[in-house]
């Protein structure tokens, strides 16, 4: 393994047991299934997919906030190495200061009864990272300045702030413990476009300045395209494609990625009706289809796809894809596929 990998997962699965079934095996939700992924140190790694694809669960498993059912997940930031599934209390506490989460909804994530200063200082106090109140204040002021919050802001309560400002407070709180790894779960989804651009620019500049590694989870491909270096696409708990951002958007190889890109409403009114439409909805993870998980909606599915599940294969230049037919399908349209299928 290269020295430059901060987070590496091998066969990572997260299963949640369901109630029910007195007889026979208990049903489980396979939220994340057999994920292999390497996240390079200092990268802005994007994770996209529809709701129900398991992207949030994967992010939480990497924070040890979701139970890891199978597989190896290793964290190595140069100072410490942790095997996440077997992390014990003391190391887990240290890991918590190294890996942080920025939430989606800035209205729900901040306590209305605490001042902004106390909100940002809380992680330092809980983790015991600072020795005196002066030191805590110093750290809070330093990170607040980076997130463009001034001293006046620190004395106020969250209700006095707009959505964009609240999200900057959430970011400051996540970064105050000086983490190496930050999971941003739909962190701009609740913001208006005019504010969203501001928060994205801020995240990107802080990431570069502090040398952080970001796992950026989003359902919005155009946002991901603008901030991420590398993008992984999930579908029903599996990774279906993973590639450097430019390669993925210029030449997507998995039919699901192609469909996702095509479904983004174009700003050109004359593009109406040109989008390639995906039929149906994502199947339930309690009862996934056999073979390729995407076969129920894939316009290119053939018999082989319904029987055998494709594995994620390297296709060169860091572009990985899990599809039986990607090579034949380069440049194919769904209509042509129906004729050959």
């Amino acid at each position: 393994m290269s020295d430059n990998i901060l987070m590496s997962a091998r066969g990572l699965s997260v299963h949640y047991p369901l109630r029910g079934g007195l007889i026979g095996p208990k049903p489980v939700v396979r939220a994340v299934e057999g994920i292999n992924v390497n996240i390079e140190k200092g990268s802005f790694f994007g994770l996209v997919g529809e709701s129900g694809s398991g992207k949030t669960t994967l992010g939480r498993a990497m924070l040890r906030a979701a139970p890891i059912t199978h597989g190896d997940v290793n964290y190595d930031d140069g100072e410490v190495k942790y095997a996440l599934p077997t992390l014990k209390d003391k190391d887990l506490k240290d890991y918590r200061s190294r890996a942080q989460l920025i939430f989606q909804d800035p209205y729900a994530a901040l306590s209305p009864r605490m001042t902004v200063r106390d909100i940002i200082a809380e992680p330092l106090e809980v983790m015991g990272l600072t020795k005196s109140r002066e030191e805590t204040d110093e750290r809070v002021r330093e990170i607040a300045a980076k997130c463009r919050l001034n001293l006046e802001h620190l004395r106020r309560f969250p209700h006095a702030f707009s959505g964009g400002q609240r999200q900057r407070i959430s970011i400051a709180r996540a970064l105050v413990s000086r983490p190496q790894f930050v999971v941003a779960d739909e962190s701009v989804a609740a913001l208006d476009v005019s504010i969203q651009a501001d928060v994205l620019n801020l995240l990107k500049s802080i990431q570069q300045e502090m040398g952080l590694t970001f796992l950026f989870i989003s359902h919005d491909l155009s946002v991901v395209a603008h901030v991420c270096d590398h993008v992984a696409v999930m579908y029903l708990g599996r990774l279906v494609e993973s590639a450097p951002t430019r390669a993925l958007f210029a030449a997507p190889r998995h039919p699901y990625t192609k469909a996702l890109l095509s479904a983004i409403p174009s700003l050109d009114p004359d593009d109406r009706g040109k989008a390639q439409k995906l039929e149906g909805e994502i199947p339930s993870p309690t009862n996934p289809p056999p073979g390729c998980k995407f076969q129920t909606r894939c316009p290119f599915a053939v018999d082989h796809c319904r029987k055998a599940e494709p594995v994620l294969k390297h296709t060169g230049n860091g572009h990985d894809v899990a599809c039986h037919r990607w090579e034949e399908l380069m440049g194919a349209s769904p209509e042509a596929a129906k004729e050959t299928a």
């Binding site: 005019s194 359902h219 479904a263 009114p269 109406r272």
Partner: protein, 333 residues
């Protein structure tokens, strides 16, 4: 085309504990039958409140100004909606001539009543149909919006349906009374892109089939570009730009519309950094005097913009912009 709706000088204020706030300020527009009008703006711009005014659905502390006129042109003659006072009077429009689709379909269905019973209930209220006919029509509408196995879904509850399915059921329900005007308030915002594309297609088909007018509220200009015929852009309770979808998106005249378009992450250009609109939308308690956008406007001209409210000036055809720069010719574009 026949005129369906006229809104003139809609001004709406709310009495709150912190004082009286102006949510909608002198908004006028009209809609033809079969036309899809996109209403765009950030949160807090007053787009939902404007739409709800058309059915007088706003809470009790809402105060409409004296000169507000909302006229719905029905086959039976024009209806002056502001003059309707009791909820019995308003039943003609609420759920009858005007239907509304809300953003969050989970919150819009009653959780403990089956989808079918809710559909039948409104049909019994708004039409002359009996229970059997209502049930048949409801199942037919569910099938029409692409819900497979409609007779099973009919008996199910909202929680048993996926997000896209619920939104389809919501559309089926809203259309079953054959409204003249459909208000769709962010109908695709809670949905995934692939499902959003399906719902947009469905709505377009239904407009063609039923010939109703639609007011499509969204903050997503991409969705507008793909669905609407005309666009109205709102900011802090005021209309700042109106026109056909091509004119407004290709040649936006108002600095706010220009900013909204520039802030959108485009897939065609990954190199240019994103351009946010500086600052935040002001609180409705602190509405700036003059042009409401002057606190964030990159081309603010000082005194004139911060003191005088700009009137609509015509750029070309039906394209109107409320900006002092547009008044001076085409310097603003």
């Amino acid at each position: 085309m026949t005129r369906l709706l006229d809104v003139e000088n809609l001004t709406l204020q709310f009495d709150t504990d912190e004082g009286r706030i102006t949510a909608v300020d002198n908004v006028s527009f009209s809609l033809e039958a079969g036309e899809v009008m996109g209403l765009v703006g950030e949160s807090g711009s007053g787009k939902s409140v404007t739409a709800k005014s058309l059915m007088k659905l706003n809470p009790r502390n809402a105060i409409y100004s004296e000169n507000t006129r909302v006229t719905l042109h029905l086959d039976s003659g024009p209806v002056d909606i502001m003059s309707l006072q009791t909820s019995t009077d308003l039943q003609v429009v609420r759920g009858g001539a005007i239907s509304m689709i809300f953003q969050e379909p989970m919150a819009s269905f009653a959780p403990a009543i089956s989808i079918g019973d809710q559909m039948v209930e409104q049909l019994m209220i708004h039409t002359d149909m009996n229970a059997k006919q209502s049930k048949e029509l409801s199942e037919e509408m569910l099938a029409r919006v692409g819900i497979s196995d409609a007779s099973t879904r009919y008996k199910q509850f909202a929680f048993e349906l996926s997000g896209g399915m619920r939104q389809r059921a919501m559309i089926a329900m809203a259309l079953s009374t054959k409204p003249k005007l459909l208000i769709a308030d962010e109908p695709t915002t809670a949905l995934d892109v692939t499902i959003q594309a399906q719902v947009i297609d469905l709505m377009k088909d239904l407009v063609t089939e039923f010939g109703m007018g639609i007011i499509f509220i969204t903050h997503d200009l991409g969705v507008i570009a793909q669905t609407a015929d005309t666009v109205a852009v709102m900011y802090l309770g005021r209309l700042v730009e109106q026109g056909t979808v091509r004119d407004v998106i290709r040649a936006p005249g108002h600095p706010y519309t220009q900013g909204l378009i520039a802030a959108l992450p485009s897939l065609d250009d990954l190199d240019t950094p994103l351009t946010p609109i500086p600052g935040d939308i002001p609180s409705p308690l602190e509405r700036p005097p003059g042009c409401v956008f002057n606190t964030r406007c990159p081309v603010n001209m000082g005194d004139r913009c911060s003191n005088i409210v700009p009137e609509f000036s015509n750029i070309k055809g039906s394209h109107n912009v409320a900006c002092h720069l547009a008044e001076e010719g085409n310097k603003g574009t």
